[in-house]
Amino acid sequence: MNTATIINARIINPENGYDEFGSILIESGTISDFGPEVKAKGQIIDAQGLMCAPGLIDMRVNSGEPGKENRETINTAAKAAAAGGITSIVLMPDTNPVIDDISLVDFINRKAENAPINIFAAGALTKNLDGSTLTEIGLMSEAGALMFSNGALPITNAQTMRRLLSYSSNFDCLISTRPIESSLSINTVAHESDFSARLGLSASPAVSELIIVQRDIALAELTDGKLLIDLISSSKSVNAIKQAKLKHPHISCSVSINHLSLNENDIGDYRTFAKLDPPLREESDRLALLSGINQGTIDVIVSSHDPRPAGEKRLPYAQAASGAIGLETLLAAGLSLVADKQLNLMKFLAALTCNPAKLLGLDSGRISKSAPADLIIFDPNTPWVCKGKDFLSKSKNTPFDGRLMTGRNMKTICKGKLVFDFSN
């Protein structure tokens, strides 16, 4: 399908707030025209009046490949992503072996060639994620690593963090680190609150996150590094970042869809499928995160897709693995919040399209002439029940199992090709 036209679409471009009915003409993988006046050519894709937006970009996806293919392979992750309306994913480096060398970046790139969607590698910040030895950031960046991350592990040493920010800025690389003060958070499994105390779970306070958020903001100011604070979870962090952004535009942050949708009460009677890292916090934190998106303080929403087989999850709460899958619920969970009027549709989509595209230097994530034809057609209103067992992901550990959702992805088009169609 070299030429195709999406007709009867409500075209949404979060980059500039464009919202109009019309058609989108796709020629050889790129958008060649769009708007109400566009004449249909080639294959016709009828959107039936549904919304058509740029394909989502998920900056934080764990697959199990290489090393833990029983959790997820790059192939199954790609299929799940396409079903969820995601057209680009960035794979985290915490695999086995760790993606800390150009040959491993090449491995991901080769796997990506045959995938239905765009797959990018994030390089490790430190060798084997040891938190102290710098990796070949420049060479990996040349090999195609889009950003650099230490996976789930924080950089505990401030001197190392300073050097990472400083060194990576030579190559204008984005580095993403988890805000965790290890000495406060080690061996904890929940958010420190009345609730976790009643459950008798060891807990880390929200300031554990705040301390490192503030340290890294100060270091980013010192070094001019391009910093992404990865997965914030508390209202304190939102406030600190809001202040920092007034002075320093290089600072950005991300939040997972789980922390926008759930709070600590969802762990209820030790539901390990809602055991996450960072832990789910209080309702006030969730509301602060939502307003962080609505006000533009939080740049990016991620799925933080972390597939775990039931064997790693069905354990006593303290022993169970953290993490949840999210590729197939990311859009739906967000649209449910939009339907509940908790989230602004344009801001929600921007945090999943043009904002991550800008941070990663991608030319997708927008609807404009000559942009890649990575598009999704979704119904913002259709109700459905989330069932983990129906998911394409190899692992089924979703915290949304049994929940009522509003809105779902109907069609995914990546590089001009229809890669997912719900009606089939």
Binding site: S132, E136, I137, G138, R163, Y167, S169, N170
Partner: protein
């Protein structure tokens, strides 16, 4: 070193008689008279002309005399120590460079009658390993007629727990005239200079300065380009740990060159841009239009922990090879203070290319420049007595 005045006045009886006797324009003679020196190519003519005036001159009369005043632009050279480039003003630097230039002539440099340092003792006090600097000073001092000794620190009392101040006091009691000091701690030679009564030359202190290296680099550049002012000079690599870079920035700035620093951010001091230089993190941008590229050694021994990920990555982005030197888009010369890490900051194809590498010439110039420095300090010492 104004010997020309004596010759012109005492032998010929003034500028005009000398002009007639030598068949040179009076302005030429006036030039010699003012500058204090006479170019070597005229010496033979002057010696034979002097015979007619019943004066027997020899080439020795053209060597600067210890007792004579030293200086450029009418400012006498009065410095006793050579600790930092910042201690010298522009006339001092010109004096030192012209003395260095004087000794570049091997006929002068290796003249066995050099007596400038006759009867003086130079002590090489190297707390850090060195081959070229130490031997260069030793040779320079010997060629000027001095006695030299080298302290073997590895076998000395430092290893037995003596402090720097005690070593200084001990050495001072032996009455040396010039101490050449290298130390791993920034500021150590300056501390020594306060406690001893002889001249102290800083031969490299920690990450602070290496003034004699900067002077010999300037002399090398001057002997190739005949000028320094207006040249675009890039200093590349491990600036953070480099004492050579700190001295070179000061000196080349003073002499009117446009200095650029190029290196990864982790190897550049945070506030380097306030040094009067332009700072670049990318070789391609930084090397554009440079006349000289000074490569620095990656000082792995001074790095407490990893500032760069690997030598492979460092060479890929910052190692000078044929491809990167083409970024200058013009004829460029390469310098390196040595010792080189081949394949880390410089490729062998550059280091060994006689057309562009001045690295061997730097060593050669080093001896002449150090003779000049020793000469100047010694004269100034005598004048101070």
């Amino acid at each position: 070193m104004t010997y020309s005045k004596n010759i012109i006045d005492n032998v010929f009886g003034g500028i005009r008689p000398a002009s007639r006797a030598l068949d040179k324009a009076a302005t030429t003679i006036q030039g010699w008279y003012d500058s204090g020196t006479i170019p070597q190519k005229h010496w033979a003519g002057i010696i034979s002309a002097a015979k007619a005036f019943d004066h027997s001159l020899s080439s020795e009369d053209f060597f600067p005399k210890q007792t004579t005043k030293l200086g450029a632009f009418g400012y006498p050279f009065k410095k006793i120590h050579c600790l930092s480039i910042g201690d010298f003003n522009r006339p001092d630097i010109e004096t030192l460079l012209s003395l260095g230039e004087h000794y570049l002539d091997l006929n002068i440099q290796k003249n066995p009658n050099n007596r400038v340092l006759k009867g003086k003792t130079l002590v090489n006090l190297f707390f850090e390993n060195s081959t070229r600097t130490e031997k260069s000073f030793e040779l320079a001092a010997k060629r000027l007629g001095a006695d030299t000794i080298s302290m073997q620190i590895a076998s000395s009392s430092i290893k037995k727990g003596e402090t720097l101040m005690d070593t200084a006091a001990t050495l001072n009691a032996m009455n040396p005239d010039i101490l050449v000091v290298r130390h791993s701690a920034s500021g150590a030679p300056a501390l020594l200079a306060q406690k001893v009564s002889c001249s102290v030359i800083n031969a490299g202190d920690g990450m602070h300065e290496h003034p004699t290296q900067a002077l010999l680099d300037a002399l090398t550049i001057k002997s190739v380009f005949k000028k320094i002012s207006g040249l675009r000079i890039a200093i590349c690599g491990d600036i953070l740990h480099s004492r050579v870079a700190r001295s070179n920035v000061k000196l080349l700035n003073m002499l009117g060159a446009e200095v650029r620093l190029i290196g990864p951010k982790t190897l550049l001091p945070t506030e380097a841009k306030t040094w009067g230089v332009s700072v670049f993190n990318d070789m391609k941008e930084g090397l554009e239009d440079c006349d000289i590229v000074i490569m620095l050694r990656l000082q792995l021994e001074r790095m407490s922990d990893a500032l760069i990920p690997s030598k492979r990555e460092y060479f890929h982005f910052y190692g000078l090879d044929k491809e990167k030197i083409a970024y200058t888009k013009k004829k460029t010369f390469v310098m390196h203070p040595g010792p080189m890490n081949r394949g880390v900051e410089i490729s062998s194809e550059i280091a060994d290319d006689e057309q562009i590498s001045l690295i061997k010439k730097q060593v050669e110039t080093g001896v002449a420049m150090r003779m000049g420095i020793l000469h100047a300090l010694s004269v100034s010492q005598d004048n101070n007595k």
